[in-house]
């Protein structure tokens, strides 16, 4: 018998497919940014800061869609396991590449518009104690560091944020695929908790103030926070594998 297809090849193919989507997304984002530059009278965000926020939603969406690669690969004789590991590789690479591409575009943007007044978006918590509001803010205002303040930390944070959103998108998509509507809705709730926990640990690690509704996390020591960020990201990974391990392909 021939040797089975390695998951690295699946990862490469999945990355390629999702990178094509990403280039479309970033292209549209560049256009939006140009329109904002033209029509905005005052200061506007850099492309980097713009992408920092928008990419969360983008990664959530493509994460949801990514479960539909599973039946495609099984139909082509690839195991669910190789699909899973392949997509983990692809999503990590994508999460590293998007911030770098956004950074490069921003440098070009700066060169083209050298007199651009830059204003940075800071994640300043809202005093509002509305829980739902805090969840939405935690999605929109993920912990942020200026790329000019500390480029590596900023890129790293960007990557972790979008990787987290990709994972919960993938988890939600998988739950709907495997468990139906009710199961899917339950996993949306689980995913929100994962995101809130991840953001809170990141805020603690970076010494940013926590949202009031999530003050429960204050007990977490700063030294442990970053480790907990990585541990909390393992939760969706573990759940996705659990749900896809023996998933039937329904026809």
């Amino acid at each position: 018998m021939n040797k089975p297809i390695p998951f690295s090849r699946i990862g490469f193919d999945l990355l390629q497919a999702q990178l094509i989507w990403t280039l479309w997304y970033l292209g549209i984002l560049v256009l939006v940014n140009i329109v904002r530059l033209v029509f905005s009278a005052d200061e506007i965000d850099t492309f980097y800061n713009h992408a920092f926020v928008a990419s969360n939603v983008y990664m959530l969406v493509i994460g949801i869609i990514s479960i539909y690669f599973l039946p495609y690969f099984v139909e082509n004789g690839i195991t669910r396991k190789n699909y899973f590991y392949g997509n983990i590789i692809a999503s990590i690479c994508l999460s590293i590449l998007i911030p770098i591409i956004a950074y490069v575009i921003t440098i070009f943007e700066g060169l083209v518009l050298s007199n651009l007044k830059q204003s940075m978006l800071h994640a300043v918590p809202d005093p509002d104690t509305n829980f739902i509001g805090d969840i939405f803010q935690s999605i929109l205002l993920t912990p942020h560091v200026d790329m000019e303040a500390n480029l590596l930390l900023s890129l790293g944070l960007f990557s972790i944020n979008i990787f987290g959103f990709y994972l919960i998108g993938w988890l939600i998509g998988t739950a709907f695929y495997r468990l139906g509507v009710i199961g899917g809705l339950c996993f949306i709730a689980i995913s929100l908790l994962i995101i809130v926990a991840k953001d809170s640990f990141l805020r603690i690690a970076m010494d940013h103030p926590l949202f009031e509704s999530f003050s429960i996390f204050e007990a977490v020591p700063e030294s442990m926070a970053l480790v907990l960020v990585f541990i909390i990201l393992l939760v969706p990974i573990f759940l996705i594998r659990l749900l896809t391990k023996r998933a039937p392909v329904k026809i």
Binding site: I5, K81, I251
Partner: protein
């Protein structure tokens, strides 16, 4: 390459007993016709062979191994069904390249030749093709995959008669050049029966029979003539169909019917004929009144 099912049972969701205690063995690279009425369990059985699903109990083995999540076995099996391409924006050429990448025996040049023969537009997104052309694409992928086990589950939907005819010819040619286990599930029994070397019939989740095509046909005998003569020869036999038109009676018998018996029936003025697979299938799988 072989497929063995032992006490295979399958159920899912609210569907209990989709497959019930299925036992069979497929050892030779031949064309197998899998027949059964709607909901009989054909697609479920094929889904298990194709690693789309797992058995509930019992086992299904390919070369002695369970196929589910078995990387080596899975790449040797193509399970082609009537896919929904309504949201497939990729074109046929790009998808053929994917298959070429994942299937070790895939013959890309042969796939392109088939596309030309079937007049398939390789540059159009799959979603924009007609149902018949989408079916042609599926057929091309399965034929060119050259996997030791190739399954066609009702993939001929929407294909017009000339396209189906071309497919049957290509199938036979492929089987001659690259013999493999081909399983065809179909409702077009009378049109495809000549392709089958063996026939498996499923009824209500149970395997009703697994025999060679010739043997099965020889078991079905039709007698037409007077009531008395028909009754005499059908006495004690398994009558699967009975019809009466005026004084003329017609019965379809299922089971061994020797040459000497046929001769005597003819001498008694009976018309003796063989049932077609189509008729046998209808009679053997009809619901009891």
């Amino acid at each position: 390459m072989n497929i063995v099912a032992r006490n295979l049972n399958f159920a899912y969701g609210r569907h209990e007993h989709v497959l019930k205690d299925i036992n069979f063995e497929i050892n030779e690279p031949k064309i197998y016709g899998l027949l059964g009425r709607n909901g009989a369990g054909k697609t479920s059985l094929l889904s298990i062979i194709g690693s789309f699903r797992e058995p509930t109990s019992g086992e299904l083995l390919i070369k002695g191994e369970a196929p589910f999540e078995n990387a080596e076995v899975m790449q040797q099996v193509t399970f082609m069904y009537s896919k929904d391409f309504s949201s497939e924006t990729e074109n046929a050429k790009s998808l053929l390249k994917d298959s070429n990448r994942y299937r070790p025996n895939f013959d890309y040049d042969y796939a392109l030749q088939l596309a030309e023969k079937f007049k398939l537009d390789l540059k159009k997104p799959l979603s924009k093709l007609s149902k018949g052309k989408q079916s042609i694409f599926n057929v091309i992928v399965a034929l060119a995959s050259r996997t030791p086990i190739t399954i066609f589950d009702e993939v001929y939907l929407g294909m017009d008669a000339p396209a189906r005819d071309l497919f049957y010819k290509e199938l036979l040619k492929e089987q001659e050049l690259h013999p493999r286990i081909m399983i065809l599930s179909t409702h077009l029994v009378s049109e495809m029966d000549y392709l089958f070397d063996d026939v498996l019939i499923i009824k209500d989740g149970k395997l009703l029979l697994h025999e060679s095509y010739e043997e099965l046909l020889s078991r079905g005998v039709t007698l037409i003539g007077s009531k008395q003569a028909v009754d005499t020869f059908s006495n004690g036999k398994d009558i699967i169909h009975h019809e009466q038109l005026g004084d003329t009676h017609s019965v379809t018998l299922y089971g061994a019917f020797g040459e000497d018996e046929k001769q005597r029936a003819k001498q008694q003025g009976l018309q003796v004929g063989h049932s077609s697979l189509h008729d046998l299938f209808i009679q053997l799988t009809k619901e009891e009144d």
